[in-house]
Assembly symmetry: C2
Homo-oligomer: 210 residues x 2
DNA sequence: TAGATTGTTAATCGATTAACAATC
DNA sequence: TAGATTGTTAATCGATTAACAATC
């Protein structure tokens, strides 16, 4: 199935919006409700659903609970996702301590660092030496890693992670990484996002003055 | 000028790649060098440049230093960008302690929190009470804020930040925020990025089996 | 039934890529 | 000069939006 990244991101947003609607007591939604909730169009909501064979009821909209089941299944949220963090610096530690992932079925099971001072096996989320990563990934069947090391170490760390058998990396280091064969890399670049925001703020100010 | 977000993100990547090339001793680049460095096409590099009136030398490529000057000017990097962080929890604190922004001309000048226990005026980056934000933004002429508060508080905090005169918000809270008039919001949603990665890893595994 | 909403097809829109004349 | 590279236009590609028949 050919799907683009934006489409899958919209599915995540639909899911999150549906949980909020459900919490408010709603049982069904129409495509235009959902479009409003995520800032899209009704056409696009129905189109996205039709790509994945999700159907509602003509005139009746969509049942929220069954819709959530289908979205969760598509997004792989019907099973707990175990994730490791590589790099136990400020960002890595913050992610390990962040409790919000658990309600999303994502559990950070361990951190890894090259610095012996950062190792801590008795933490709620243990921090282990980098050289144990391959064994850990294998025995615990981990597929996803979050990479949060300094930029200078990022490509090397990524190579090591790929070699350890990880299938997907969420990269926080501020440079685009090349993924090894069979490993997908998703770059989250805070500096570039900030630059982007600054650019559009500047443009808006300039056009306002003009 | 009509520009899309991806195009501006590419400009940031070109800039970063050019610094790396410069550090390696290069003085000029061709469009296909730069394309390789960022994982794009030579056509797109030249197209992006032509949108902003950046021209090189037929047969001679582009001078790296003058190219960097132009890109930096477009991206607003010819002046220091002062940024505040709202929410001094794990993520907010990690961002305040992160030193990588400075070499990019981005300086986090203060944090703000509603929790009195988090206040610390003598920090290298002081953490101030939320109620001081409006005065601080005004006297220091701040335009950009990073929002790193729990989801439940995010929309309210965003409204307050907008009211304080901030023009752009980089939002780390895991839900899409509605920006007030005259305030741009750029959402960075780590959970959704993780979900996205998981989806594509799953799809790849399934198609490999099939 | 009349009105409203889905599901899908066709039209539109915009971004990326290819092609190539200009030219160094 | 011959070869290589830019700058820009045209072609392609893909995603979004609009339209509307089906139907509850």
């Amino acid at each position: 199935m050919i799907t683009n990244k934006n489409c899958i991101i919209r599915l995540s947003r639909y899911k999150n919006a549906l949980y909020r609607l459900q919490a408010l007591g709603f049982v069904k939604v129409f495509s235009d409700n959902l479009a409003d909730a995520v800032g899209g169009t009704a056409s696009q909501v129905r189109k996205d659903f039709s790509i994945f064979g999700i159907s509602g009821n003509k005139k009746g909209g969509y049942q929220i609970d069954s819709l959530l089941e289908k979205l969760n299944s598509i997004l792989g949220k019907d099973q707990l996702q175990k994730v490791i963090v590589v790099g136990a610096g400020h960002i890595g530690s913050a992610l390990m301590r962040y409790r919000g992932f658990e309600k999303e079925g994502i559990k950070i099971v361990a951190g890894f660092d090259i610095d012996p001072a950062k190792i801590n096996r008795s933490n709620p989320t243990p921090v282990l030496p980098l050289e144990e990563i391959k064994a850990f990934v294998k025995t615990n069947n981990i597929r996803i890693a979050i990479l949060a090391v300094p930029d200078i170490a990022a490509q090397q760390a990524a190579d090591m992670i790929c070699a350890a058998g990880i299938k997907g990396i969420l990269n926080f280091a501020p440079l685009g990484l090349k993924g090894a064969e069979g490993c997908i890399i998703n770059n989250v670049n805070v500096e570039i996002e900030l630059e982007n925001l600054i650019y559009f703020v500047n443009v808006t100010e300039k056009t306002k003055k003009a």
